[in-house]
Symmetry: C2
Subunit: 147 residues, 2 copies
């Protein structure tokens, strides 16, 4: 487990290097938070800022957080998800997948690709091709049947 983390850490340095990103203290810390645990999650720049502040490992300026998130996105280590209005959400899960969006608390959850099956899909307009087809399932509270 410790070994795993070390390996992850080392591989992160390599990944950054191979993408032309210098493995700076700030980038490593951010990557540790984002990719250290191996569960996928969604977050905003400010979420990440808070997590880092709470871990109270040396602080990172918000500007650097934004820079780094965009760099990681450009290199394909993060996806950007546009769902709830005005904030930019990032997703550590870069594979093709679907989402639940819970309107009661503005939270986003992954749905793995194989839990959804699309049977019929329109053809792309001329000169275009389909890049991805993602399903967004909006949830609301079920007051009649709380299970």
């Amino acid at each position: 487990m410790e070994d795993n983390k070390k390996n992850n850490f080392k591989s992160i340095i390599d990944k950054l290097r191979s993408s032309g990103l210098r493995p700076t203290r700030q980038r490593l810390l951010i990557c540790k938070v984002l990719f250290g645990e191996n569960k996928d999650f969604h977050f905003t720049a400010e979420d990440l800022d808070k997590i880092i502040k709470n871990n109270n490992e040396a602080k990172i300026s918000l500007a650097t957080i934004y820079n780094t998130l965009h760099s990681l996105k450009k290199c394909g280590y993060l996806n950007e998800v546009s769902i709830s209005g005005n904030k930019t959400y990032f997703d550590t899960n870069t594979t093709s997948h679907h989402h639940f969006f819970d309107e009661a608390n503005n939270s986003l959850t992954d749905i793995s690709e194989n839990e959804v099956e699309i049977k019929k899909i329109p053809i792309a307009p001329k000169g275009k091709k389909i890049k991805t087809a993602q399903v967004l399932i909006r949830l609301e509270n079920d007051n009649h049947n709380q299970n």
Copy 2:
């Protein structure tokens, strides 16, 4: 056709009234723009502001445009679509439907409900129920086969 517009216009007044919205000059003008032509479209508050400015019918303050859009949304005459990042898009098509999003030019197009069929869908988490399931198909340019 003129009759149709007049009817639309009249029905808009009625609609507004029946939703408890006073048919003010500003609201009528906005509704005329949004629902006068009977094709569905997508727009931002600023788009609407420009359209109204260009038509150079009496100007409407941006704050009022925002207010009105939110009122119309609340009454179910508009849908809000969150797709391309930081701006809020509205959609005059309030029926359940899907979208193409063309990444080459950031444009959104409707896909009618019956062009898509979802075969398998996950069950909602406890205490929640599914409100809608919408498919977003991202498009990119097809450079190999322009048709």
